[in-house]
Symmetry: C2
Subunit: 237 residues, 2 copies
DNA sequence: GGCTCATGTAAAAGCCGTTCACATGAGCTG
DNA sequence: CAGCTCATGTGAACGGCTTTTACATGAGCC
């Protein structure tokens, strides 16, 4: 497949050459501009310069296009989370927080993907490959939670790693859904979503017995120094 | 065309009599069945037994109908949260948890309202009365957080009450969005959303220094006995 | 050159949202 | 009761969207 359609606007004839990709790109543009509901199949076709029927050669219907985008979104998401987790370096706790922030960054910087993945209303469980991609992404969070659970200080009740992972996921998702969208700017906040989530995760981790600041009386030792932060909301009075 | 609408009602003629209410009801039905995207204005009109143009006498357009539903949703939501909070009785911490559960219960039992409120994609800030209703509901959570902050044990760093309220909101919303929907059953969970959220909130509260179990070594005193629970995930090993 | 099949088009059916001119009749006024 | 008025409902129409169907094109292969 060597379409001579290299950027240089070689006028395409009857065949587009790379319509599927062009449609996915167009859909991404449109979704990020008008939301997954406002996006129309016909618009994407128009943007790609083909007739409204052409997309049906590449996607069974509109939903399948959105599912394809969600699929890609989960793949990029997984890659981003993997990178953020960085196998727990330099220390488990801070890597864990980084994962939460990566979640927010994704929601903010890739609103189209995020919408397709979480807000398009398409049933995740009806599409096995989509569900698998979703689970691969979640597996990163789960793996991080396993590591965290392994070094939780003794003497503190703690939930199974799976539950911890779900907790982190729900916090991240809650903050991202309510406050973390770049374009829509739905609700006003007296702080950044990042700070909000960071504080939330830190308090949660402290509830599990992890050292997240250095105040006397809450002493415990992480495997490595976790810095000198005392929480993003300032000192207690 | 004189099918009288409901229960043994006298023959309705040209005028419906209570179309606005009938449309809201029909829309609720349809949204809970097919989601806010699948709901159509024409369907609601059909269900109410009027022509497709009739709804425009009561709502400027489709979005305004959805906004009306969201509005009502926030009002019911506020009422439910108020009831759950019960002014902090019998003790602040358990009342606080009850609020989280009420959030979940609402998402599960009123999926149509919940969808209209949070998943319909309509801009909250464009409608002042809608935003006001939303803020009134959030004010309940905020008030609860204020009370909680007032009796947080000293010696523990803690965020402003507003931030605590946002934390609780994001946890509840995250769990509800990801796992808490009754009809759609999007994702499988090894536990109930209620248990998941309860554990999450308890760990968070412990991170703030609140007594949420009676294990030695984490002693602190709430204003009142908080029961003998050791956390919903069982004993630590 | 000629075949074949993936990939495009045009046309059409059926739906929806929305608007507009018009019809109806409920409630008021006298 | 007669008559007026206005909120409320109707029917028809426009444009746009999704999806299907029959047909056109041309790229790759013998």
């Amino acid at each position: 497949m060597s379409w001579r359609k290299d950027q240089g606007r070689a006028e395409r004839g009857y065949h587009h050459g790379n319509l599927k990709e062009a449609l996915l790109q167009a859909a991404l543009d449109l979704i990020s501009k008008k939301g997954p509901a406002g996006f129309t199949f016909a618009d994407a076709a128009r943007m790609a310069g083909v007739s409204p029927a052409a997309p049906y050669r590449h996607f069974r219907d509109r939903d399948e296009l959105i599912a394809s985008i969600a699929q890609r979104g989960f793949e990029q998401f997984e890659s981003l989370l993997t990178q953020a987790w960085d196998d727990g370096r330099p220390d488990t706790v801070s890597a864990f927080e980084r994962v939460g922030k990566a979640y927010l960054a994704f929601a903010r910087e890739e609103p189209a993907f995020y919408s397709a993945m979480f807000e398009s209303g398409l049933p995740v469980d009806s599409n096995p490959t989509l569900m698998a991609a979703s689970e691969r992404a979640f597996a990163i969070i789960r793996a991080a939670a396993e590591r965290l659970a392994a070094l939780a200080p003794p003497g503190t009740p703690r939930p199974p790693a799976m539950m911890m992972a779900l907790h982190i996921w729900s916090m991240s998702h809650g903050v991202a859904s309510l406050f973390g969208r770049g374009d829509a700017a739905r609700r006003k906040l007296p702080m950044s979503p990042e700070d909000l989530l960071e504080a939330e995760v830190l308090i949660y981790l402290r509830g599990l017995g992890f050292l997240t600041d250095r105040r006397p009386g809450t002493a415990a030792a992480d495997e490595e120094p976790a810095g000198d932060r005392s929480g993003p909301w300032g000192k207690p009075k």
